[in-house]
Symmetry: C2
């Protein structure tokens, strides 16, 4: 199996020594991004990546400069959903040039570094048996590299598609102190709400505002609605996206659903949700001048080892 | 937020010093379990937990002694799906007595230790910012405790419901050298197959046989079928479970679907899959006498720190 080190070459070796310089690059990269938004759920399979891909396309449609980072290292799917799977990465002086979709979205994902479909990401531990000792740390290092070493350029929105697991957002919030907010995704089942509630607690603890709650696969299940969940936690409800099998077809085909099916119930809902995300972030309390540094020198520097 | 240490009390403190004794307990516990089966997917939300709950009920229906360990610490849902949420754990000389469902299934889950719905599991790091350094290790420790300290008793089947993430199986295989096999779950979309393929590679690397592939939510999506995926990887195809919204209703209500809807297409498919799991494990090549030790002394002892 390919190890992360083999895949990224020099970028993966001597990782600790490079961290100082990486922090500076990360800071510079994020200073050129107006809004960094994490899409979280806790529960897997609720359509987090599909929502992320469609929000990116909806925002790009309105003329925004949009980037998407697939923060799911073990189950990356954004590159496929946005049609850039298999595209070559170009390394320039400015960093790794992310592939650009037909909609103009810049995409970075572990998927673009893996040699084949069935290659998992494994960490360079003595054996897989003790890989868990390193996993958390290596994942954080990989995400830091993706953020710092990708030539994102100037962006209005950088969307971060998080993996399932209520705990992953803490790691990311540590890497991105300038996180503008989180968007929480659920489906209308009690089982999903149970898991999503834990994510809301983690999202609150990051200090970044929870922008809103989105419900996917509405009408497919008969459980409690996302609107009630949002009300329970005092979070804005951003809307319900009906289940439409063409959402999965679009994801498999690599063309965002909103690009081809804007005038459907699910398409309209997605465009409306994108509008709410944009309006919330562009409200005076959220705006941040492009030139400001998101990481005041010496603040929230995270210990690395 | 509650820390894992607060939740488990003494069991969580001085964890390293207790490991030696825990290894011995783990060994003794697993010696009384005929078959340990991991249910994996890589992709979240493909109905892994629902399948686990229904397999457990189907096997128990046939008179087997069945236990289920919810190995998803961050998004536990098995306790709810099997109707034991909120039940008190009883600590006896033999260990922690797992709640028993109406179907006779013994269940252990992080969910039974959490004080409220919205409480996530957090690890006792200096700050959440560097929690990722400890996460992998603490998760492995928690799973080891669940396996070693639960009074499972004699079991025919212990089903382990794994969290999403292709990498989690390595950790578990390190803890359970006697793993009888893995069951891989997918849904008929290319995006799911892409992630599941990585899990198949990880599952193969554990050395435990892949028992079969199960397809959930058949007919809901129009993508490639699980049967083709199974054929591509030379894995037995165990069957397709049609999408039935009552599967989610049953999960929310805590009554296994097969208990109330055995005579439906999805119910029959689940019972058949359980029969295949049983037949595969009871085949001569898989059988292991109840009294044998699964951990030859000194073998595959994992370094702990």
């Amino acid at each position: 199996m390919k190890k992360y080190k083999d895949i990224v070459g020099d970028g993966g070796s001597n990782i600790v020594a490079q961290v100082e310089a990486q922090h500076a690059r990360l800071k510079a990269r994020l200073a050129a991004v107006r809004h960094v938004v994490a899409i979280v759920s806790g529960k897997g399979g609720v359509g987090k990546s599909s929502l992320t891909a469609n929000l990116a396309a909806a925002l790009a449609r309105e003329g925004a400069a949009v980037g998407v980072l697939d923060a799911d290292l073990n189950g990356p799917s954004i590159a496929k959903m946005l049609g850039v799977r298999g595209m070559k990465l170009r390394v320039t002086e400015a960093g790794v040039e992310p592939p650009v979709t037909a909609q103009g979205i810049r995409v970075m994902s572990m998927d673009l570094l893996l040699p084949s479909d069935d290659a998992p990401v494994t960490w360079d531990a003595t054996s897989q048996v003790d890989s868990h000792v390193w996993r958390g740390n290596m994942e954080a290092n990989a995400l830091r590299e993706f953020l710092a070493d990708t030539a994102w350029g100037s962006l209005d929105f950088l969307l971060l598609d998080l993996p399932p697991g209520a705990d992953r957002l803490s790691t990311l919030a540590g890497l991105v102190p300038s996180l503008s907010g989180t968007l929480v995704v659920t489906i209308p089942t009690d089982v999903s709400h149970l898991v999503v509630k834990k994510s809301i607690t983690v999202a609150r603890a990051t200090g970044a505002p929870i922008l809103g709650l989105v419900e996917n696969m509405a009408e497919l299940f008969q459980g409690t609605g996302g609107e009630a969940l949002a009300a329970e936690f005092g979070i804005p409800f951003f809307g319900s996206v009906s289940f439409d099998p063409r959402l999965a077809v679009a994801a498999d085909a690599g063309v965002p659903f909103v690009t081809e099916h804007a005038d459907t119930p699910a398409g309209r809902a997605l465009l409306e949700i994108a509008g709410r995300v944009r309006a919330t972030l562009d409200a005076p309390s959220h705006s941040r001048p492009l030139t400001s540094s998101p990481l005041p020198s010496g603040e929230r520097q995270e210990p690395d080892r």
